[in-house]
């Protein structure tokens, strides 16, 4: 429900990290774990709403990679969590050692080359 907030944060993080070229961002890749409570479709909609307000980002693409939840048990087995059942597939022990699924980060950003701007 706070997808707009996340989109705004996404742009803020990029601005913070790449102050010299954030305005030329052309592609943003997000990694989103299933446990982050973020719905990719809602995020995509929020992104569309955001670029309507900030037309300079009209051609910017958002690519979302969703990651399933994986737990790693003491017995050494890794289990892909299904139906939110946090139980090891091999030894059937309960396990909350989550090694994937809580992600909520930008992992790749593409920027248009500056010269394309200089030409115009």
């Amino acid at each position: 429900m706070h997808e707009i907030f996340l989109i705004r944060n996404t742009f803020e993080r990029i601005e913070e990290e790449f102050p010299e070229k954030f305005e030329r961002v052309s592609e943003i890749h997000l990694k989103i774990g299933l446990l982050s409570n973020v719905q990719p479709i809602l995020l995509t909609n929020a992104f569309k709403a955001f670029v309507m307000e900030f037309p300079q980002y009209y051609n910017t693409k958002l690519i979302i990679d969703t990651l399933p939840v994986i737990i790693s048990c003491k017995c050494g087995a890794k289990t892909k969590v299904k139906m939110n059942r946090f139980v090891c597939e091999r030894c059937k022990d309960p396990c909350r050692n989550i090694i994937q699924g809580e992600e909520l980060f930008i992992n790749e950003i593409k920027f248009k080359n500056k010269n394309e701007y200089d030409e115009t």
Binding site: M1, H2, F5, L6, N9, T10, E12, R13, I14, E17, F18, S26, E27, L30, L35, S36, N37, M83, N84, R85, F86, V87, P94, C95, R96, I98, L104, F105, I106, N107, E108, I109, K110, F111, K112, N113, N115, E116, D118, E119
Partner: protein, 237 residues
């Protein structure tokens, strides 16, 4: 604009440069939460979460009564709109401050940092944060709390923990509330406990009714134990 460069050396149209990064989208929130933790190191901070209407405010009022003369508690209470909950708590004699989130579905740590400047915490042993009624969004936001407590009322059905796994994964205690209604509802305490432990095997579970004063001694005991643990930890540092 670089005018000295010959045109031929420019990279052709359509070229991009790619940055491989790992930029956490909640970093600002987590950073502020850590600041709150440092600032409130002598106060036990408990983040109280649940669906709308599970009985958070009623429990805060009861807790205030039961802690009277034992511990001093304060409450920051957040709602999308109105200051009704803070008014209710103040009427019960509790030091409370309303945070109006303006329609936002969760509290962010920045709101707490501002609020702790406005509320008088002198002498406070336990600070409760009553979160916005919502089992989804608040689970992602660290508020600098020591513990997260989630209420689930008997009217909500016993299948909720696995529907909202993040909340129960990140809670240390699940309070099954409105126990007085149990005779009228198809709700199983065993089933909800099992469901919660499927997500989080370490979660503590207590059964309460704020209306009929059931199980509240154990809740008060839980608070006192956690406060002592925190004080002891501070002393060893």
């Amino acid at each position: 604009m670089n005018t000295t460069k010959p045109k031929s050396s420019r990279i052709t149209a359509g070229s991009v440069d790619t940055e491989h990064v790992s930029l956490n989208l909640l970093r600002a929130n987590d950073f502020v939460a850590q600041k709150i933790r440092e600032q409130l190191k002598d106060i036990l901070v408990i983040n109280v979460c649940s669906s709308p209407g599970s009985g958070k405010t009623t429990l805060m009022q009861k807790t205030g009564e039961l802690l009277k003369g034992k511990l001093k508690m304060s409450v920051l209470v957040a709602d999308p709109e109105t200051d009704r909950d803070a008014v209710r708590m103040k009427e019960s004699g509790i030091n409370a401050l309303q945070i109006v989130t303006g329609g936002i579905c969760h509290i962010e740590s920045q709101m707490i940092l501002q609020a702790i400047d406005l509320i008088d915490l002198e002498g406070t042993d336990v600070l409760f944060i009553e979160n916005v009624g919502n089992l989804m969004c608040p689970s992602s936001f660290d508020l600098g709390e020591d513990y997260r407590v989630t209420l689930i009322s008997t009217t909500e059905g016993d299948d909720k923990p696995r529907k909202y796994p993040k909340m129960f994964l990140t809670s240390e205690l699940m309070l099954i509330s409105k126990l007085d209604l149990l005779p009228y509802l198809p709700f199983s305490v065993e089933a909800v406990t099992e469901d919660a432990r499927t997500v989080n095997p370490d979660i503590d579970v207590l059964e309460i009714s704020s209306l009929k004063d059931t199980g509240l001694d154990a809740w008060i005991q839980w608070i006192q134990t956690k406060l002592e643990e925190k004080k002891n930890k501070n002393n060893y540092k």
